[in-house]
């Protein structure tokens, strides 16, 4: 597989609570970028687009779109910085006064930390006490196993 091949994942916001979600390899909407199913061919992209149209029209999600991702040494990551922030959450949550993370976020964060360390990031982000919220962490995704499941 070419490392430069264009790869897409499908993202949206969940209608009821607005949470960022990714279509996962089981066909469900997951809050974890790491579980997103990959589209590597035009047919796979069309399948994602069809699913987006269907779920948007059935009031499951809103504003779906495809996100271009690339493979790096650390794993898969969105190409645009904007999408890395969106996938990983605000980079400043540790500094938000009084911030209370919902349980689901904490569970997800623990899962991601267990999966791998941070990718390329500045010192502030690497040394943050709760780096699981940092967008750079989305680079920690393991590509091989995910692709195998997606296939």
């Amino acid at each position: 597989m070419s490392r430069n091949a264009e790869i897409s994942v499908l993202t949206a916001n969940r209608l009821g609570d607005g949470a960022v979600v990714f279509l996962d390899f089981e066909g469900a909407w997951s809050e974890s970028f790491a579980e997103a199913v990959l589209a590597r061919t035009p047919d796979e992209v069309r399948a994602l687009e069809d699913r987006a149209t269907y779920d948007a029209s059935h009031n499951v999600i809103v504003e779906p779109y495809l996100v271009e991702v690339r493979e790096t040494q650390a794993g898969l990551t969105p190409v645009r910085y904007r999408e890395r922030v969106r996938a990983g959450g605000p980079s400043v949550l540790d500094d938000v006064p009084g911030y209370v993370a919902p349980e689901a976020v904490l569970r997800q964060a623990q899962h991601e930390v267990a999966d791998g360390g941070p990718g390329e990031s500045d010192e502030r982000l690497r040394t943050a006490p709760h780096a699981q919220h940092r967008p750079e962490l989305v680079e920690g995704r393991a590509t091989g196993s995910t692709h195998a499941q997606a296939a």
Binding site: N13, V20, V85, S91, V92, P97, G98
Partner: protein, 546 residues
Amino acid sequence: MYRYDEFDAEFVRQRVAQFRDQVRRRLLGELTEDEFKPLRLMNGVYLQLHAYMLRIAIPYGTLSSRQMRKLAHIARRYDRGTGHFTTRQNLQFNWPKLTDIPDILEELASVEMHAIQTSGNCIRNVTADHFAGATADEVADPRPYAEIIRQWSSLHPEFSFLPRKFKVAVTAAEKDRAAIQVHDIGLHLKRLAGGGLGFAVYVGGGQGRTPLLAKKIRDDLPEADLLSYLEAALRVYNLHGRRDNKFKARIKILVHEIGAAAFSAQVEEEWQRIRDGALRLPEAEIRRIEAYFAPPAFASRVAKAALRPADRAFDRWVTRNTHAHRQPGYAIVTISLKPIGGIPGDASAEQMDRVADIAERYSFDEVRVTHEQNLVLPHVRLVDLWAVYQELKAAGLAEANAGLATDIIACPGLDYCSLANARSIPIAQRISERLSSRQDAIGDLKIKISGCINACGHHHVGHIGILGVEKRGEEHYQLLLGGSGAEDAAIASITGPGFGPDGIVDAVEKVVDRYLELRTDEGEPFLAAYSRLGPAPFKDALYAAS
């Protein structure tokens, strides 16, 4: 403070019920997203980068303790324990669930608040000098007029679908703390030649992708004619403002394209037609609204200052964070929401509760929100300053940096906003940390940061402005110098090539270092030095080595 009348209460109650039904129908699929989106926006509900966002109007930035406690309650119960005060004197919650928002709006209505007209192409929340009604340098409290404008503009049928959003700011002091020259309409309340009160009217200011300073089109508008003149101005804009191009639809573009004189002439013509109609403000009505903003029952005798221990931090806080009050024996206190390395404008639910308690006890139950993302206690007895300081300190709210280099305005940026291209908050945090140790030596300095060209962080009017852009998919920052949103309003100029996320912090420090090196003495502020020296020495500091 203004209290809702029966009309206010009823229309807010109706709107909550309508939105509750609209959300129900959306969740059931009876409304599509295309149908629902304009309805949610009319109620201040955005879909941002990570979640829904609810923007709550705080008219002219004035809150009671009861209202502040309600915001704290909502932050705790429906959000994630925090709220964000914005550059439009509003409050934003970043994590509400759509399913909860009808309940949130009902809670807000119970304390006479709402989120109506905090989005959409309508007349937005009217902002005002955050020291209004307290400062010694104003001719009168401008908030009664802001309230009159709020009532006139709320659900105004003719102006609910303008070419673009419309923002009005009001001040009554020569020192402009409301940035009136970068608003669609800015009003300066003043004493007219005949002795009565009236307005200088500025029109067509704004920031965004086309920053322009407003033009003064009237200098002597009698207070009785305020609404008829605004109606005429809005009508001309509504008729001739461009609707074919979103980026050229603001009134500033119209005024710029046809010229202030031509725009003014059209307004005058329309105004002459309607000025003696239903919108002429009766004296009794102005005074009735004014009565809601009557000064509190200040102590008639100035109490002697209580003994307190020597405390340099307190002295520094008094120097930076208090302002002269019109009433002897009182001070205006700025509560900084800019802890060193913190997030500009953020406050926890606990902090909001503490501020409400302090305001209730020491400031006649009143809090203000500033467009610089701080809070204000407008009426504090001098003898209470020590106690107020101690309580603020315990709440983590006693940073003594009002107006200094660490008192940075920053929009939510790419950390939250779906429109942003780059993060603003982390840049503000790092600049704050970098400059904090010598901010007193630097003196007054306004640093303003936006994460995109829409300029919610007011970068065009920062003494030092920073604009985040996207360059090849990554964050990049342009540096601007020489702007001001005050009475000496000016649009900042870009220095040259931009910088990466680390480089921009270094660049700001280089500009500050060059200023310290070249200022005549400690009494020459940054903006004065920049005006005297021009951009060349600062560009040299930034780019010469490269």
